[in-house]
């Protein structure tokens, strides 16, 4: 009897870890693009996640334009559409502010613009948090879907032990994986993707190739914003959120990106997956307050053993 319960708990934690991990993976890819690849420190990434949640909420609920899609399909279409909306926001933010502290303007300077980025993005983060408080209020909200309280049952696998796969999370997980693969294909194989990577690698040389570096950075920043926003929209279907939710996730995003290895989109995804997995599985043995502590214990262990990250590759010749 005791063994059955244990097996059920472990299997369900693993299932939750993988589904939530994939969504975290997508969230981390957004930051992975901005921080890992373009090397722009962005502390407002958590707020981009928050904006994704609210964008999805306002699209789907009440008199939102997607309300006709109903509670089953709507929330996921809303999450996907939050991407382009926040993409535009991110690109404008880059044009107005971030461009002044990144790219060609800071290439070759002592700090590569990181100090400026730190201050600017922290400021943006504060403005978005408190602006959100004024606009959206502080009541925790959620994008309701009946799927969040339904699950596929697998089993019983051992005695009475059954695995429950939450339908909302499962669909969110699938959307996250598809979006992540799409972005990876874009960066790896298209002319635009290669130009973005070239501009990030060496802005001056990219200019010599005829690449408009400022525009490349703007697109990359917008893409990173939009991707994290899609993850936010997906998360909004299973958790409640308020304008300050970004704070909880910005640290998770940074640990995911660093874990996976800077400069690799796939790495950021695996890093996020690892973080989500550790967080969910730690629930088996640790009280909920210590779940984030568990993330950092694993984080420190991995960074100690593999300083280049799980999937980092060293491109510099020794």
């Amino acid at each position: 009897m005791g063994l059955e319960i244990l097996i059920e708990n472990v299997l369900n934690a693993l299932a939750a870890g993988i589904t939530i991990g994939c969504i975290y993976g997508l969230m981390c890819i957004g930051l992975g693009l901005i921080f890992g690849i373009m090397k722009v420190v962005n502390f407002a990434q958590g707020e981009l996640l928050m904006l994704g949640m609210f964008a999805s909420l306002y699209l789907v609920t009440g008199g939102g334009v997607l309300a006709f899609l109903g509670p089953f399909v709507g929330p996921f279409v809303g999450a996907i559409l939050a991407g382009p909306i926040v993409f535009v926001g991110g690109a404008l933010l880059h044009k107005a502010l971030i461009a002044r502290v990144s790219g060609l303007r800071t290439a070759g300077t002592l700090d590569e613009g990181h100090f400026g980025q730190l201050i600017v993005t922290l400021g943006i983060s504060l403005i978005l948090q408190n602006g959100g408080l004024i606009l959206f209020g502080s009541t925790p909200l959620t994008v309701r879907t009946p799927l969040a309280s339904r699950a596929f049952e697998i089993g019983p696998v051992y005695g009475d032990a059954t695995v429950f796969l939450n339908k909302a999370r499962l669909i969110a997980c699938a959307v996250a994986i598809i979006t992540a693969v799409g972005l990876w294909l874009l960066l790896e194989y298209t002319r635009l993707g290669k130009a973005l990577r070239a501009a990030a690698d060496n802005p001056t040389a990219a200019t010599y190739m005829g690449i408009d570096v400022e525009r490349a950075y703007r697109i990359a920043f917008g893409l990173g914003s939009g991707i994290t926003a899609i993850a936010g929209g997906l998360m909004a279907t299973y958790l409640s959120f308020s304008p300050f939710i970004g704070l909880d996730y910005v640290i998770i995003m940074y640990s995911g990106v660093v874990l996976g290895g800077m400069g690799s989109i796939l790495g950021a995804f695996w890093g996020g997956l690892t973080v989500g997995f550790v967080q969910q599985c730690s629930a088996l043995v640790l009280p909920p307050q210590l779940q984030n502590a568990a993330i950092f214990v694993v984080f420190l262990l991995i960074v100690m053993l593999r300083p280049q990250g799980l999937f980092g590759r060293s491109a510099e010749r020794a």
Binding site: M209, G210, A315
Partner: protein, 241 residues
Amino acid sequence: MTALLEIEGLCVAYGGLRALQDVSLSVAAGQFVTVVGPNGAGKSTLFKTISGVVRPTAGRIRFQGNDLLALSASRRAHLGIAHVPEGRQVFKTLTVRENLEMGAYPESGRAQWTRTLERIHTLFPVLAERATQLAGTLSGGEQQMVAIGRGLASAPKVLMLDEPSMGLAPAVADTIFERISQIHREDGVTILLVEQRAVEALELSDHGYVLETGQVVLDGPYETLLADDRVRRSYLGLSDA
């Protein structure tokens, strides 16, 4: 001969420091022009001003009659100006092949991609072997080949090379010079070269400029420069005897 690239009275200052003073230079289509001079003479600044990453305080740059200064840096590459920068500056995190593809970013490069890639691989067979390797993991000589190949990939009208032999073993540098000469002779690409190894560079060229502390102190064909005692001693390492 009509000038492909024409520079008149170019002045550049970094803060209060004058890097170029009243520099005039002209490159005709099909020519091989070399600029020699000591460190800090402003050679790289000259190239960066042509490419547009450095803005001049005065002067004019015309390319095929177009006013280059009216164009943004990234637009200039699309006119057919390829800059192979000092210190190679390859995209380290991109593969060799992707580096070359980025060279072909301008329309002219894309249109002729299959042909130019084949040509680049003929000139530098090692780049075909290492196509999928990250450029950052290559040796200095190989990175220089990537940088030159990347410049060629845009099917440029003028190829500007900034110290392509820097930091390379003499034998490798010789190969690089040979390839540059080949690119000039066989592909008919106009070459503008900045080089410390003045003898080799000037031997290849139709016309040479000597740049000192931001000013052109002498210019002319190889024979003229060779006849100048100061140049012989300072740059060519030849004694009077």
